[in-house]
Symmetry: none
Amino acid sequence: MDEHGEGRAIDKVADLGRDIGEYIKQQRNTAKISLRQLARLAGVSNPYLSQIERGLRKPSAEILQQIAKGLRISAEALYVQAGILDLPAGGPVTDAVRADHDLTERQKQVLLDIYESFRRENSATRPAAAPSTVEAEPRSEHDDAADQR
Amino acid sequence: MDEHGEGRAIDKVADLGRDIGEYIKQQRNTAKISLRQLARLAGVSNPYLSQIERGLRKPSAEILQQIAKGLRISAEALYVQAGILDLPAGGPVTDAVRADHDLTERQKQVLLDIYESFRRENSATRPAAAPSTVEAEPRSEHDDAADQR
DNA sequence: CCCGAGTGCTAGCAGTTGCAAGCACAGTGC
DNA sequence: GCACTGTGCTTGCAACTGCTAGCACTCGGG
């Protein structure tokens, strides 16, 4: 991490750690499940999940993936909170370009940069879409039954 | 990783490690830059980048982000290769661009023209290894100077 | 020949990640 | 009271990540 200023980077990392931890805790509370229940559903150890929620540890993307699965939210939502994925530019154009097998990665990036620049031109004051919390559907018995169909 | 069969999971993890490593190496070769140059651009140590490319180490998402920056491709492309992000299920680029309400018609056309031009380039120059002329733009001093403007 | 600059890699190490074992506490039923 | 089940957390440790110092090699110039 030589690129980072020593003091501010540490503060930033700590903040990011707390951000994803608090977000996970918030999602878990919203889902009304205990830390141990989530840990079991996610397939991670409960002490580790506890440490993550309190910002003491910084989980890998794989662990975030597992936690997302346990919470039944998208891994991407956690990645965004963890700062390893940008807010989705959103929309069919971005997805289509990314999925196009006829383009190289570099070409995709060039196209999307131009696309974004056009959008900025057209709507300079449009606010960015906020991360969604709609995935925090409460976990109930009824939900489990629906899950099995 | 208790959810996974022991033998197959190990094989799968190893494959994934080699996948992202080979992918990075391929992108680097396509960009015609040395391992050390990419390491410098990415802000990671060159021995570590070497180990990553050879599948000996499994980089974190943060490191992948840095490597993507050095390669000038999206971090998401690397995440997909690393198996921590799913391929977006997108529709055709043309349809998506045409349907995008954030763009003027002119902008749509410009984007689609560039898109088609890229595809043409790729069809004309595509051998089995699929290099791109855009991506294969040599990374020179001149480029660096242009980069800073 | 030597030297310098470049190449990719080896080896050892500090710090971090994720875990298992265990603790203290709360609530419930006998 | 006790035993049980559940809660979140502490601690120590093995494995891993990412680094630095250094190596061997190639190439070009003097």
